[in-house]
Amino acid sequence: MNAPVSTLASPAVTVAPPTALLELRNVEKTFPGRAKPVLTQLSVSIPEGQFAAIIGCSGAGKTTLISLLAGLITPDRGEIFFAGQLLNTPGPERAVVFQNYSLLPWLTVLENVSLAVTAAAPRLSRQAVREQAEYFIDLVKLSAAIKKRPRELSAGMRQRVGIARAFAVEPQVLLLDEPFSLLDALTRFELQEQLVHICERTQKTVVMVTHDVDEALLLADRIVLMTNGPAATIGGILQVPLPRPRQHGKILEHPAYYPARDQLLSFLESGVLSLDTTRKGQKGKEDEDAKITTLSPVDVYELSRWDADAGVRAE
């Protein structure tokens, strides 16, 4: 079994250019007609193979962040890099699972997934497209509903199609925008479990936005905390000290679970972590297994570079 990942020794460790797959540098985004930016001075990098959860209260600009990473909107300031390239358009190498599923209602489950397969691999034969679509539909256990249209499916089933569609383009990064927030608790549990299973198997790089602390702890290798909006930025980063493979029931028994959870919750409850009070050195309570390091944006940036290089993912 994996040992709990040790947390950061010192954020001052700086190393050569990052190998991170996704990297945001001092990103700022203001929507037209708004005085304050939604996001500001936001820097974070996500190394390949990592599952990063971005957690924050509603209105913290989480969906904006996902849209930026997807390339659906462009930042006003700062840069976003994907695989070393400046990112400015959407593309199937960064698949998105949308909060409200966004299935095309006039297509069946198979057609919805097939459309994605064809778009990502236009040269594939009809037969191959179908096989690949069926494979991913099977992965989310929807083979029985393959001919159904979205309106005939329950919310949970719809989001499973959304997940299948995202995986079916074989993306380098999977972007999840509060994928389970509209589901009932039971379905959410089931889908989280499925997702954790698929992600552990495929070792996909994932960025998931959520406001659910338990969901983040179950799924993520690293949790990025966002301060309250407007002008939200990154307030801290937590390495999830839980071994993989993870299961709902099992992780609750892990001694590091509740301390980590408490810290996340207290961060969310305490609301705004203004930058002045979160300078280096004023860290949250220190814990053996987990701690939130609250730092200025620049420090966070260094920090994320650091764990990109150290490859902190639980192997």
């Binding site: 593309g91 998105v96 095309l104 778009a119």
Partner: protein, 257 residues
């Protein structure tokens, strides 16, 4: 309770019709002696109804046959209207520049009566039949144009985002996302357009004297057979209603939950 409501729903429409027939009888008996009474109308028209497809010359034909002529004409004009109107609507919905260029023009052309278009059609085409089709098409296309444009503009941004993330080409985006998402609006436009096409047919036939329900109506007015005017009016109304219901069914099929 429910049974009583059902009974009401069944009987009240008949009561309404009976009331109007009563008023009609009263009017023909008192202030408008030229208006044939319902009974006389029926007596004079029943041949046209009971033998709807007889033919004795150009204008003396069963009402069914006349209606078929009109329907054929409407079908042609209406087809023309949606063939022209649909792409125009898409262009308006997709292109801001196109909208700025043509929207004012459309708003001006839209309220023009078929009676005004028909002479222009006659000048353009020299013959009455194409002029009638032109009039039907140009009057009937606006609901299709406008509904299509609205449908394209109000397309759910989520669907567009799906297409963008999959990096669909402009053409694929149009065919796979925008067109299917617009279908419900399209059919609403088609239904309204058909209603207008049917309205226009009467005017077009009256002015061109073409064989059909409208032409029959005008000819019978000139020959002072007023009961046949009523027959034509009722026929026009019933067919218009039937067409609307048919298109309504088609529209329902494409409405989504």
């Amino acid at each position: 309770m429910i049974a009583a409501q059902r009974l009401k729903a069944c009987t009240l429409p008949f009561l309404g019709i009976a009331g109007v027939i009563g008023l009609w009888t009263l009017l023909s008996a008192t202030v408008s002696p030229d208006l044939p009474s319902p009974l006389r109308s029926w007596e004079e028209s029943k041949r046209y109804i009971l033998d709807p497809f007889f033919k004795e010359g150009e204008m003396n034909q069963g009402i069914g046959r006349l209606a078929l002529y009109s329907l054929e004409r409407v079908a042609k004009g209406y087809l023309l209207a949606i063939i022209l109107g649909t792409p125009l609507g898409f262009l308006l919905g997709l292109s801001r520049g196109f909208t700025q260029a043509f929207d004012p023009l459309i708003q001006i052309l839209r309220p023009i009566s078929p009676l005004a278009w028909l002479p222009l059609g006659l000048i353009l085409f020299q013959r009455s039949e194409p002029a009638a089709l032109f009039t039907i098409a140009i009057c009937a296309m606006w609901p299709t144009v406008i509904n299509t444009a609205v449908g394209v503009r109000s397309i759910n941004q989520d669907y567009v985002n799906v297409g963008r993330v999959l990096r669909l080409s402009r053409w694929q985006m149009l065919w796979k996302i925008i067109l299917p998402a617009t279908v419900p609006y399209l059919f609403t436009g088609y239904r309204l357009s058909l209603g207008i096409a049917w309205l226009v047919i009467v005017a077009a036939e009256m002015l061109t004297g073409a064989a059909g329900v409208g032409g029959f109506l005008w000819q019978e007015y000139n020959s002072l057979v007023y009961s046949h005017i009523i027959l034509a009016i009722i026929t026009i109304g019933l067919i218009g209603y039937a067409l609307d219901r048919l298109m309504g069914l088609a529209e329902m099929r494409f409405q989504r939950a």
